[in-house]
Symmetry: C2
Subunit: 355 residues, 2 copies
């Protein structure tokens, strides 16, 4: 009986030892996995205000008003929020965005969230900053459709914005300018960061994302997706040809490839250089699960299909459904919350638009 | 010296008596003024949910989502909030509103605030309730532009609204219907009341509105404006010809009259009855100072001009600038705050619109 008890105790103790060992081993794996993740990805900063664009409360508030202001556009109805809508996670949910007078734009609108952290703006990367993007949108015939910056400035004065510009740009003799319109909007946009469960994970909270998400992250790394999609916003730092291993407009033979449309020449449109043919800015993947449809022309509706397209066209790999699901779980961990200051829309100056 | 002191005391006492008398008299005047006001105007109720349209938290929340939902419209971009925008006090600030595919509507969009308290919806009054207005907008070619209610219902299911409809209409076998779309939106709209300083005044707080506003109110009553603009929402309870004392499209000879445009035949468009020629629903005047431009066609940009037009065309009176300013002060006391549940826009289901 004593022997039996001792043996039982020994057996139990051995089991505990194994259990502890396996926990330690799991912790080691988790830690190693996290360390590996940290070599590819970075948590979001608290803000992205930079020296070139000093901000103030008045400037950010003015920028917020201007972001939602429709009466500066040539039909009195378009605002930044039309394509970057708080209800749709900073995008518009359309395949192709729409500008003034119902004009269909040639490309999909990405979310505005975290965009100050991108290498450039637009799929063609032909806007160096969010400020330049905002400013040039004013005169684009398909976007705001204004005839001149002088027209924009006159509109802003008529609408009653002069005092707000004075407060936001206190040391300027003539603060109501298109440049300051853009700087104010940029100041607001630079507050629109969306920390996600993945950031908690990167900061050390292993359980902040699911085991599937972590396995998906490993797959995302091992397959080579991180070649382009890494860093703070998981992409957005480089330009790449759409269709490295296959011409994207010729790719057929699977449901996903049949979804691809058009022959957008990418940066070639702007540069006319052969090496820019079909080259686009690599989009960030933060909030990707919240902002379908996908790619520069919004031709693919579902995230799993988009993953399959990328695996084949960029990496030359056929990917299993299991791995797609894991990668999607990882991408879902990149979804942040809509910033509160974005979901609460501002009251704008009382002024009629006599269309 | 004693005599002098007594005389001084007497004189001081007389002054106090006069001062008290004048205060009492002012109070009497204030009270009489308030009592007179109460015979014409009523404070806003707390809610306007009615037996025909029982509401619940789930129903109001669904209605809010649907109010901001653009993907039910035929171009994927129009929502109730396009014409009834939180940034513009529940209106759109345009003279003439714009529907799907940039279609210009024939009339000005009024604010959505307090509209369940109106006798009918639309300037023609051809919608009996906010629910009927919402429902019929779905098929109007200039508004949402849908082909059929079946199309709308299919869209709602595709967008992922089925569960929300089940929660909002728990005892129905097939809750995803266009009728319930309208009932839910109505439930939300019935929460959009805007108590104003004038309500505090009507409840007895004399100083809640300025002396000018009260003098303007007296003028508004004595001139006869209250003949149409009375009650809870200061109008909105009757139909009236635009141009009683003069044909409105022939009225000339003053700056204000030259602003009037067009020959909208009013209710005649729908009824084809001669007595409905140029007859419109009398609009409410709550929030009128916050929602220019004015009249069915939005042809008048400024509130003071609108007051002058009304005085001449409806009452046959030329009104002094002083009286216009007083009436405008009164109308400004009808401006309420944008309801918080309206200014915070909802996150909508994640679902692409493949335009």
């Amino acid at each position: 009986m004593i022997i039996k008890k001792t043996r039982l105790l020994f057996a139990a103790s051995a089991l505990v030892t194994i259990a502890i060992a396996s926990i330690v081993s799991a912790e080691d794996t988790d830690k190693a996995q996290l360390e590996r993740a940290r070599t590819f990805f970075k948590a979001l900063p608290d803000s992205v205000h930079v020296d070139d664009y000093p901000h103030s409360k008045a400037r950010v508030e003015l920028g917020k008003s201007l972001f939602f202001e429709t009466r500066v556009s040539s039909d009195g109805r378009l605002s930044c929020a039309a394509c970057h809508n708080p209800s749709y996670h900073g995008a518009d949910s359309l395949a192709l965005s729409v500008g003034v007078h119902g004009a269909k734009l040639p490309r999909n609108a990405p979310t505005v969230f975290n965009t100050p952290l991108l290498i450039a703006q637009h799929y063609g990367g032909n806007r160096t900053s969010v400020e330049e993007q905002a400013m040039k949108a004013l005169l684009s015939p398909l976007a705001y459709g204004n005839a001149s910056y002088a027209d924009v400035e006159a509109k802003l004065k008529t609408l009653g914005y002069s005092k707000k510009f004075e407060q936001a740009f206190p040391n300027e003799a003539e603060p109501v300018t298109a440049e300051n319109w853009a700087v104010a909007i940029g100041a607001f946009e630079r507050t629109l960061l969306t920390p996600a469960p993945f950031d908690k994970y990167l900061k050390g909270d292993i359980r902040a994302i699911s085991k599937e998400a972590r396995l998906g992250m490993d797959k995302f790394i091992s397959m080579g997706c991180v070649g382009c999609h890494s860093g703070t916003v998981v992409g957005g730092q480089s330009f790449q040809k759409f269709g490295i291993t296959e011409d994207y407009w010729l790719a057929t033979g699977s449901k996903e490839m049949e979804l691809l449309k058009g022959r957008d020449k990418g940066r070639y449109h702007d540069t006319k250089k052969d090496e820019d043919m079909y080259v686009f800015k690599v989009p960030q993947l933060r909030n990707v699960a919240m902002t379908p449809p996908y790619f520069h022309d919004g031709s693919v509706a579902k995230l799993d299909d988009a993953v399959r397209v990328m695996a084949r066209l960029q990496l030359g790999q056929k990917i299993s459904d299991t791995d797609v699901a894991l990668i999607v779980a990882f991408l879902e961990s990149l979804s942040g919350t809509v910033p509160a200051q974005f979901a609460t829309v501002p009251a704008l100056p009382v002024s009629p638009y006599m269309n």
